[in-house]
Symmetry: C2
Subunit: 363 residues, 2 copies
Amino acid sequence: MSVGSLLILPGDGIGPEVMAEVRRIIDWYGEKRDLTFDVSEDLVGGAAYDKHGTPLTDATMDHAQEVDAVLLGAVGGPKYDDLDFSVKPERGLLRLRKEMDLFANLRPAQCFDALADFSSLKKDVVAGLDIMIVRELTSGIYFGEPRGIFEEGNERVGINTQRYTESEIDRVARSAFELAMKRDKKLCSMEKANVMESGILWREVVTEVAKDYPEVELSHMYADAGAMQLCRWPKQFDVIVTDNLFGDLLSDAAAMLTGSLGMLPSASLGTPMENGRPKALYEPVHGSAPDIAGQGKANPIACILSFAMALRYSFDLGEEADRLEAAIEQVLADGKRTADLLGEEGVTPVSTSGMGDAILEAL
Amino acid sequence: MSVGSLLILPGDGIGPEVMAEVRRIIDWYGEKRDLTFDVSEDLVGGAAYDKHGTPLTDATMDHAQEVDAVLLGAVGGPKYDDLDFSVKPERGLLRLRKEMDLFANLRPAQCFDALADFSSLKKDVVAGLDIMIVRELTSGIYFGEPRGIFEEGNERVGINTQRYTESEIDRVARSAFELAMKRDKKLCSMEKANVMESGILWREVVTEVAKDYPEVELSHMYADAGAMQLCRWPKQFDVIVTDNLFGDLLSDAAAMLTGSLGMLPSASLGTPMENGRPKALYEPVHGSAPDIAGQGKANPIACILSFAMALRYSFDLGEEADRLEAAIEQVLADGKRTADLLGEEGVTPVSTSGMGDAILEAL
Ligand SMILES: CC(C)[C@H](C(=O)O)[C@@H](O)C(=O)O
Ligand SMILES: CC(C)[C@H](C(=O)O)[C@@H](O)C(=O)O
């Protein structure tokens, strides 16, 4: 049975390696569960630039608009540091987010039991941690105009613009409230309303949306205090909603705190397409890790869990997602560890593909 | 001997309580060391709003421009949450920073040995930690125009502008390199040059300034990766330089990680005045903590250490600063702890003024 179409964009660095393991999982679903995906693969980021002189061709962009889900590895690397801003690898990813209008970026920060020792935080601070950060992804200072480097008098000035409309805030707030309803019904919104007018509007709109979700306990926190509280006692949070830039920093910090960075997936969702499925892109939270690329050291789990999120959110295959996640828990409980997770006693080191083997076996 | 003039602005919340202890220390210097300060005191923040309808009067602003150093407690509190943006307590502090042109905000993130257990991080990750974050304080999105909430079509839009000129980046970078020269000669600059043009200019200018400091090892990091690395292994850093908004989040996170938040001072420095002393404002990193205000629970040490920084940077009394810092170490080693630092075995709880007593005794 064909369940839908999937565009795979491995990207740069460890992207292709971890994605190769996802492909094996996808094949397994076709062979063993009769769930076949109409898979295509293309280039993004530095890889696309190397071939086409642009980090995302129009053809790839068009294709991404048509599929049920995009699965992305990672983009970027020092090789591209000196490229002009307009063709940097990141622009490919940002164009996908923007043109697909993927406004809600779901970033779970979850501590896997078997890995709690890996956190730089004390075990009781992180064990069992499970929070969800909802980051606005298509607006704010990432995309606001005017932007650029301009001459002014005798010198240059660098300008970027934070811009949020009420409707942009409204829709991402609704996504966050919906998620909170399915979880512990607690939502914390973070901005700098004490310093930024865009933060004031943010707080106002979120407070307004809250009226439609009377069961959810809403709180507000300045983003700097939020950064502190995430470091101090992250378990105080359930769902966090915040803007594009604060979300970038806060979700990365939260992911690192779990000790499970190589394990964390993300989903970026837009509005429903004609077939009712939301526009969607899935990617691991970790970056392209150019320093370990091509050495079989990368942990494919974050990317595989991103595929699990696709099963759940795009293909309505929640049970299959559960199955895949359970297989991964199993493998971790058995002590299999990629290079990023070594250090404990009594674990078995495995390579990127060794981890893929183990997960397939557990499936 | 009169060593210079000091304007004390206790502000809101626990500000007045912790400042009362500083005044006792100042008196001690006059009586026992013949070092007298020409001290005046005034209102800022909510306290100023309550009396004058503005978080900082012009008269206070003028006075701040004339003194050798300003010592501030903290501003803000829920009581003022619904005030119009233009008269919020924070505007008083921001006006001081801007009009005094205090472009370099020095925020040490230091872990006090006696308090390493207080961190949510594992002891080996934080014990002995000593980094310095230099945050640009007078520009960026805190002050850029246009800003505000505007009508656009049928809805409102919140706008803030990140703006950095080359000379603004140059001068704060130089402060950071100077500090690095006096420390471990390592500087890490953080921005989002992969996403923001203002970050590209930031990176370019810092790289240019580095030519004047060939002994300092300069690195660059994206701010989200910086947030991660601060959480993972903060000891990799010596001095960090970053912009106003990133500095707000990153320095707060770093301060919290040390476990010594109630202990951390900060200095905000501008250009030299006629007498050769820099324009300067000193304040604790912690906020106004309205929840514990007036209960004798506040830790006055961050504010007292801010005065120690004033001794060092404004009054050229480095040895006296050392003496004061040593007295504080002594008191901690003796096991005296304010309410924020209780929990260990064998320590002696003290009130805010009890901590002041102990420090005076150690002096
Ligand atoms: C690669 C980069 C453009 C991106 C961002 O800043 O959003 C990344 O840090 C992320 O968080 O997905
Ligand atoms: C009180 C507030 C305006 C201030 C800031 O955002 O700069 C505070 O968070 C700080 O870091 O000093």
